[in-house]
């Protein structure tokens, strides 16, 4: 028995979510009284996982540079068999959610995504996860000898626990890929909804796409990702990639700022997992105020420019 944390990298560096999954893995190993190691692909700073209590990392380099789910899953499965890992920890990124079901099939492992805490019991292993798009939690027991736990973004947090970390390069022979990458488009340097600390989101209250500079400027000051409600993307004001909610992207961030969004049940379901919610809306009866932590009843066209100005001043003070 042992815990294996699957670490994601980007341009050879650990992704931000590495700290959270590593911390979860170390916590789980302590509960299970077993050891915890990690595996990463194309990494030149894997040793920094030592900061979060990981003492051993296997680094794989003989796989495609871009994330290729089939070869990556096959490699991990071979490593799992090699080190006899029984509990695998993955993040909730788009790549992790691609990888985990393929791994589950290969290992005949139970996969439980969107887990928010360490197990409440270890025999049988019982974890709490979100269900019904954040409208509830399900306490889920896991059968069988191997399991994959998907940690919800920003649910467990990073826990510093410095140890010395031994990095070893490993080589496996994964099967060939089933898919060819034709192209990839990725905004670089811009925060994404999946891993930003702050998300600034606009709704129909902004009246039209020409007013989105307000959302973008506010996002820039806060180093935030931008998002929108469903009608905004349906009307083509914003790209469909920005649509958040029950049928769009889930948001589980530290700070979610909703501007001119009424707070329909389908919108709330998808963003409720965010820690702190701020609502700016001209209608004091907007349902979103019931789900918010902080609110400003006011006209977005007055409040947002003021907020941008004041935040710039605040940031300038450091």
């Amino acid at each position: 028995m042992s815990v294996l944390v699957i670490i994601e990298t980007e341009k050879n560096k650990l992704k931000r979510n590495a700290a959270e999954v590593a911390s979860y893995g170390v916590g789980l190993a302590a509960d299970l009284k077993t050891s915890c190691s990690a595996i990463a692909f194309h990494s030149d700073n894997a040793d920094s996982l030592g900061q979060f209590g990981i003492s051993k990392v296997a680094v794989v380099s003989n796989v495609p540079m871009h994330f290729d789910a089939n070869t990556y899953a096959d490699t991990i499965a071979q490593h799992v068999q090699q080190i006899k890992a029984t509990h695998l920890i993955v993040s909730s990124s788009a790549d992790a959610k691609f990888l985990a079901p393929l791994l589950a099939a290969k290992l005949n492992a139970a996969y439980v995504p969107n887990v928010v805490a360490l197990p409440s019991a270890t025999n049988p292993l019982t974890v709490k996860r979100t269900a019904f798009t954040n409208k509830a939690f399900a306490n889920t027991t896991i059968e069988g000898s191997c399991s994959i736990i998907g940690v919800g973004n920003n649910t467990f947090g990073a826990i510093e626990n410095p140890v010395s970390c031994d990095v070893q390069s490993v080589v496996y022979n994964p099967s060939t890929s089933l898919l060819e990458q034709v192209s990839i488009e990725k905004e670089t340097g811009k925060a994404t909804i999946a891993d930003a600390d702050v998300v600034v989101s606009g709704g129909r209250g902004l009246k039209g796409p020409e007013n989105w500079h307000l959302i973008e400027e506010l996002a820039e000051v806060l180093d935030a990702a931008t998002a929108c409600s469903k009608p905004v993307s349906d009307m083509g004001w914003r790209s469909h990639d920005e649509h958040v909610g029950q049928t769009g992207k889930p948001v589980s961030t530290n700070l979610y700022i909703a501007i001119g969004i009424s707070g329909a049940i389908q919108h709330l379901a998808g963003v409720n997992a965010s820690k702190v919610k701020v609502v700016i809306n001209s209608d004091p009866e907007a349902p979103f105020f019931k789900a918010a932590d902080y609110g400003v009843v006011g006209d977005a066209f007055e409040v947002v420019p003021e907020l941008i100005k004041k935040l710039k001043a605040f940031k300038a003070l450091g």
């Binding site: 788009a94 079901p101 709490k128 269900a131 059968e143 905004e187 932590d293 004041k310």
Partner: protein
Amino acid sequence: MNILVCISHVPDTTSKINFVMDNTLFKSKGVQYIINPNDEFGLTRAIWFKEKHGATVHVIHVGTAAADPTLRKCLAIGADKAYRIDTPAHDGNHVAHELAAFLKTNSHDLIIAGRESIDYNGGMVPGILAGILNMPFIPNCVGLEIDGNTATGEREIDGGREKLKGTLPMVIGGQKGLVEESDLKIPNMRGIMQARQKPFEVIPSSNAMALTKEVSFEKPAPKAAVKLVPADDIDQLIELLHKEANVI
């Protein structure tokens, strides 16, 4: 081309989520069920392939007769045949293995499922299915073209898109973007009448296994009341976010 669309049958997006039997069971009484929205985008794309390229479209659900009206609706929208594997769905692993057993004897060129079901949000059935059958798989799929034996799909990644190409048979995890909201079809009278004549086959379970079990449910703790800040005192908002909430 034979397309199989996997349909999950979920509570309407406006449903109040409550539990019964000491919080061990979802309260389905009074809940309206719908085609999982992600599957509706996939089904509409499949019907587009049928109209443009003469594909055959089958729909399948693993579950009880409670979902029959949902499957009939799929037929009314334009699917040619419905299958239901007659067993309550236990978890993603169970459903994927039931579907895999079906596909081993009823091969299809393209299997379209949804990115995730909006009830249990597993996001795992199509991936596990592809893994069992060793087929290429494109999740979070927002665009799909077929050319002969080759499928090219676009998947959403964090902060962008990736275009992938592979050979049929293939499994897709679809979502909005496969078609637009405005392309979704509402069944008309003619479709509803025709649906009654279309084949609907109930097949026995292959007794696949579940690996997880939901033992109880909880609702999130009630929220404290919102703190309102006057619109002319934005400094106070910044102060609260900085000092109290610690998020800026």
